[in-house]
């Protein structure tokens, strides 16, 4: 079959989604696809652009793997925009002079920031906020200045302001309208949002019409019509968007009076076979500046192009509902939020807690027409269901927004019809979610999300998605089990007990006795951890079930090299030992970085270097820091009463004592700990699995905190303890956690799910409610007494060292490992597509 030639101009979020949809619908068999991107990078997530400020890396923003286009047979030309189009001869020319013929042409050119026609906005120090390049320039210029302003108090402008605050700049927002986010929020909601944003130090200037731009070559400020003025050294303009329709205009494709390529309900322009999507498309006289409508358009067009025999999909316009977190404040707005039609408003406002909720209800009180939530948007998913599916409201609709929204008064998604829309970000109906569960066998929330895309946008509908999943699994008679994996019909907690009672000591024994098959990446490390927690034998005795980090006693990094972290108990280190670490790093050319746990990470070690590095470290008095294990890692501390003028107890000594007691103990997940010498809490102990804070009379013990994905403060467990009692409680708490938690479950989640919560745990650990405390202590003592430095275990055993080489049949090292230099140290070369293995 001769393939038709399809060209997509633009590789932004919508252009990329269109390609994904083409692939999904089998379009790669029908079309020879070429994508032209103007930017030097492949498609990335523009919505979360401000994260680039904090991360300073584009990697996490990319929407696909480097080789996604190539592996799907799509030609992607970057830094190569189209510059002219001949709609008669049906070909186009790029900036590099490439001539491309097309049968189908898709404009996904997006928009550019609108810069108001103010004289002087061409001065140095004026930026827009759209591409990674824009951000890079802003960041560079931002280094030199103190005071910055954003012109425009809409969604994007506030995002930009947040980025400026994160950079430590004095930040101002200048808005023409009398309130923030004038398109989404009413006066009440906007004033609450304003107060919240001002709390973090952004100054907001409303009702400001700029009269004059100050400064000669560089921008220095604004003069306003009302006579006032504002001085600043840098400006980000975020005053709306302009569709990128210039190319279409030149080619004679019809565009709207105020810009935008005019499209019909099938995304077609006035020229046959030429289409437009996303922010450049003018649909029913409306330009959508959000990504979700663009995705809907992409889906419609891709489907119609790939399935010409089917009834074509029709795009009738999008719902503008949105939920987002703005500068840490939840904001949601849906439907007729501003109450433009006849309606009854129901408003709840609490300026003290910074919460505003508004329902816009039909005059007969039966239906929800729209709403606004600021400060607390938990009710969003629920309200959206009422709105999208035109469900009759309860007698007292205010119950939907007053008080806390818990799962009980969440509205049951099982009573919804299949066509009910659940996720408005990705336009997913209840039926789509059900088919993901039924046809594609997605039995957990992650796979439902991946498969149906529901809940993968703002996440506001996840409670609904979860409830649909649970109801459907129940209907299918599938019990939601906590089985470890297909090889074991036990939860980790049950497995722990069985292995202990049956005295099973190796994986082959365990799987033969109580499992089936050959094991997998879930059960092998789980059993390895259980065996280590019960018997505490050297872990390399069970090498075949260790994850790569445990197998090589180091942390695997990009490129397949490893990092090495020696233990530095309590973060205390002598000058000689510091020098020794430096010597080792120099000798093996390792990259050095101070970790969050007050240690030093040495990165870039090849597998064959590991035993040599450890030997040198051990000779200098170091031991393994177990940074590679799901194990007790560090006890962070401050200097405490020995040095600090505020300290009330010797936190360093106590931290060292604790770290040496619990070092390397394996657990369901990693354990991190901390000890602070006074209430100022410099060791950040409340962000740890256990944290201890000194008081005048002893130590306060906190448990169940962590950083990471869901940061959680540890909860106060007991007060004013002496050292011995504190250790006793920690022994029992840790062992109880090790015995009963699920695989890869941190103490915070474990505590949340423990029936009876912290009060029950206190009853167990302090009052010995279960009568197991002597056992728990005995088990902990046995772990403490059988401690061994796992590195030394290898350094002393030539047989074990044999495993530390890259090739079995050659003494070469891995030629694929490549480093580049940055700031005087090595780092791995980037993952790029042409380095990928060729088949």
């Amino acid at each position: 079959m001769i393939k038709r030639k399809l060209v997509v101009i633009g590789n932004g979020m919508v252009g990329h989604r269109f390609c994904e949809k083409l692939v999904e619908f089998g379009g790669t068999d029908k079309f020879e696809i070429t994508v032209l991107g103007e930017e030097p990078r492949r498609a990335y997530d523009r919505v979360h652009l401000s994260e680039y400020f904090t991360d300073k890396s584009a990697d996490s923003l990319y929407l696909c793997a480097p080789d996604w286009y190539r592996s799907n047979g799509i030609k992607l030309l970057l830094s190569e925009p189209a510059i002219s189009i001949d709609t008669i001869k049906r070909k186009l020319i790029t900036n590099l002079g490439t001539e491309l013929e097309f049968d189908e042409l898709i404009f996904a050119t997006g928009s550019s920031p609108f810069v108001p026609p103010l004289e002087g906005l061409n001065k140095e120090g004026v930026f827009v906020y759209r591409t990674i390049e824009d951000l890079e320039q802003t960041l560079e210029y931002g280094k030199k200045i103190k005071k910055a302003a954003v012109l425009g108090g809409g969604l994007l402008g506030l995002e930009a302001a947040k980025a400026l605050v994160d950079l430590g700049k004095e930040t101002h927002v200048v808005e023409f309208a009398p309130r923030l986010m004038p398109r989404q929020l009413d006066e009440g909601g906007a004033s609450i949002l304003k107060a919240k944003i001002e709390e973090i130090g952004v100054e907001i200037h409303l009702n400001k019409q700029t009269e004059k731009v100050l400064g000669t070559s560089k921008i220095e400020g604004f003069e306003f019509k009302d006579g006032g003025s504002l001085k600043f050294d840098m400006l980000i303009v975020s005053a709306g968007i302009r569709p990128r329709d210039e190319l279409a205009r030149l080619a004679g494709i019809a565009v709207g009076e105020r810009g935008g390529i005019i499209v019909d309900d099938g995304m077609g322009t006035n020229v046959y076979g030429i289409y437009a999507l996303g922010e450049v498309a003018l649909h029913r006289n409306f330009i959508y500046g959000l990504v979700a409508p663009g995705y809907e358009m992409a889906d419609t067009l891709a489907f119609n192009l790939c399935s010409p025999g089917n009834k074509p999909k029709v795009y009738v316009g999008s719902d503008l509902s949105t939920k987002l977190k703005l500068i840490g404040v939840e904001v949601a707005s849906f439907g007729d939020a501003l109450g433009e039609k006849e309606h009854i408003p129901i408003v709840f406002k609490n300026p003290r807690s910074g919460v505003y909720k508004k329902l816009v209800i039909s005059p007969d009180g039966k239906y929800l027409l729209g709403g606004i939530l600021v400060g607390d948007a938990k009710a969003y998913g629920n309200l959206l269901s009422f709105y999208l599916n035109k469900i009759e409201l309860p007698e007292e609709p205010e119950t939907l927004i007053v008080g806390s929204v818990s799962s009980e008064n969440l509205f049951g998604a099982d009573s919804l019809p299949e066509e009910a829309k659940i996720c408005s970000c990705n336009n997913v109906s209840k039926g789509d979610i059900l088919s993901a569960i039924r046809d594609k066998e997605c039995y957990d929330i992650t796979s439902v999300k991946n498969c149906s895309k529901a809940g993968s946008g703002c996440g506001g509908c996840l409670p609904q998605v979860t409830s649909i999943l649970k109801a459907e699994l129940k209907l299918q008679g599938k019990v939601v089990t906590e089985y470890l994996c297909e090889h074991f019909k036990y939860s980790r907690k049950e497995l722990f007990q069985v292995i202990k009672v049956k005295s099973l000591k190796s994986f082959p024994d365990v799987i033969k006795e109580i499992g089936r098959g050959n094991g997998c990446e879930v059960c092998k490390p789980a059993v390895a951890s259980i065996i280590a927690s019960i018997w505490n034998e050297p872990i390399l005795k069970h090498r075949e079930i260790q994850d790569t980090n445990d197998k090589y006693l180091a942390n695997i990094q990009r490129g397949g090299t490893y990092s090495v972290v020696p233990r530095i108990p309590g973060g205390e280190i002598t000058p000689d030992k510091l020098i020794a670490i430096g010597d080792v790093a120099k000798k093996y050319n390792l990259y050095c970085k101070i970790t969050g746990g007050q240690r030093i990470d040495l990165l870039g070690a090849r597998i064959d270097q590991l035993p040599l590095i450890w030997k040198d470290l051990i000779d200098s008095g170091f031991e393994s820091g177990h940074a590679y294990g799901k194990a007790m890692r560090t006890v962070k501390s401050c200097v405490g009463s020995t040095w600090c003028r505020f300290g009330v107890q010797d936190s360093t000594s106590f931290a060292i004592k604790l770290e040496e007691r619990y070092r390397g103990i394996r657990a369901p997940h990693k354990l991190k700990c901390g000890v602070s010498g006074c209430i100022r809490e410099c060791a950040e102990a409340r962000g740890k699995d256990f944290g201890i804070i000194a008081t005048e009379r002893g130590w306060n013990l906190y448990i169940g905190g962590n950083g990471g994905v869901n940061p959680k403060h540890a909860l106060l467990f007991a007060e004013d303890l002496d050292e011995d009692t504190c250790i006793k409680y920690i022994d029992r708490y840790m062992m109880f956690y090790i015995r009963t938690a699920d695989k890869l479950m941190r103490t915070s989640t474990w505590l949340e799910q423990l029936e009876g919560g912290i009060e029950y745990l206190k009853d167990v650990v302090i009052n010995d409610r279960l009568g197991i405390n002597s056992q728990l202590e005995e088990e902990m003592n046995s772990l403490v007494n059988t401690y061994l430095c796992e590195w030394k275990d290898v350094v002393d055993d030539p047989e074990k060292q044999k495993k530390f080489k890259h090739f079995i049949n050659a003494s070469d090292t891995d030629p694929n490992i490549k480093f580049i230099e940055e700031r005087g140290q090595i780092r791995p070369a980037d993952w790029v597509s042409d380095q990928l293995v060729k088949s």
């Binding site: 793997a65 080789d67 592996s71 799907n72 991946n450 297909e486 082959p508 098959g517 050959n518 094991g519 997998c520 990446e521 092998k524 490390p525 090498r543 075949e544 079930i545 994850d547 790569t548 197998k551 090589y552 695997i556 990009r558 490129g559 397949g560 495993k803 890259h806 090739f807 079995i808 049949n809 050659a810 070469d812 891995d814 694929n816 490992i817 993952w831 380095q835 990928l836 293995v837 088949s839």
Partner: protein, 112 residues
């Protein structure tokens, strides 16, 4: 898919290999991961590079099975690959090449 005539290449004695795990063999410029799946008494070989990043790490991953089908799990991001078909079992279109392993008189050979 190999269309060329295959060569039989000696890699080493069985005793050098890792039971229930993998090693990397250098075959010309290529890196091949070879697995001794002892619990099934089976041998497998595939590219050592994970097609996701190109890093030479697959030999260091977990061996396992999904419904009886033998698989290797990349140690970097836990993508699963079938050792029989080379298909990515984690729902992506990645694929690895697999190669026949011969074991004769205590020695392991690759056909490549």
């Amino acid at each position: 898919m190999q269309t060329n005539i295959k060569n039989k290449i000696l890699i080493g004695p069985i005793t050098d290999f890792e039971a229930e795990g993998g090693v990397t063999a250098k075959v010309g410029e290529k890196q091949i991961a070879i697995f001794f799946f002892q619990s099934r008494n089976e041998w497998y070989a595939c590219d050592n590079a994970c097609p996701h990043t190109g890093d030479m790490v697959l030999s260091r991953g977990f061996l396992g099975d999904t419904n009886g089908d033998p698989k290797i799990v990349c140690p970097l991001h836990k993508r699963n690959f079938s050792l029989t078909s080379g298909e990515c079992l984690s729902g992506e279109k990645y694929k690895i090449n697999t190669y026949p392993v011969l074991v004769e008189n205590g020695f392991v050979y690759l056909e490549i």
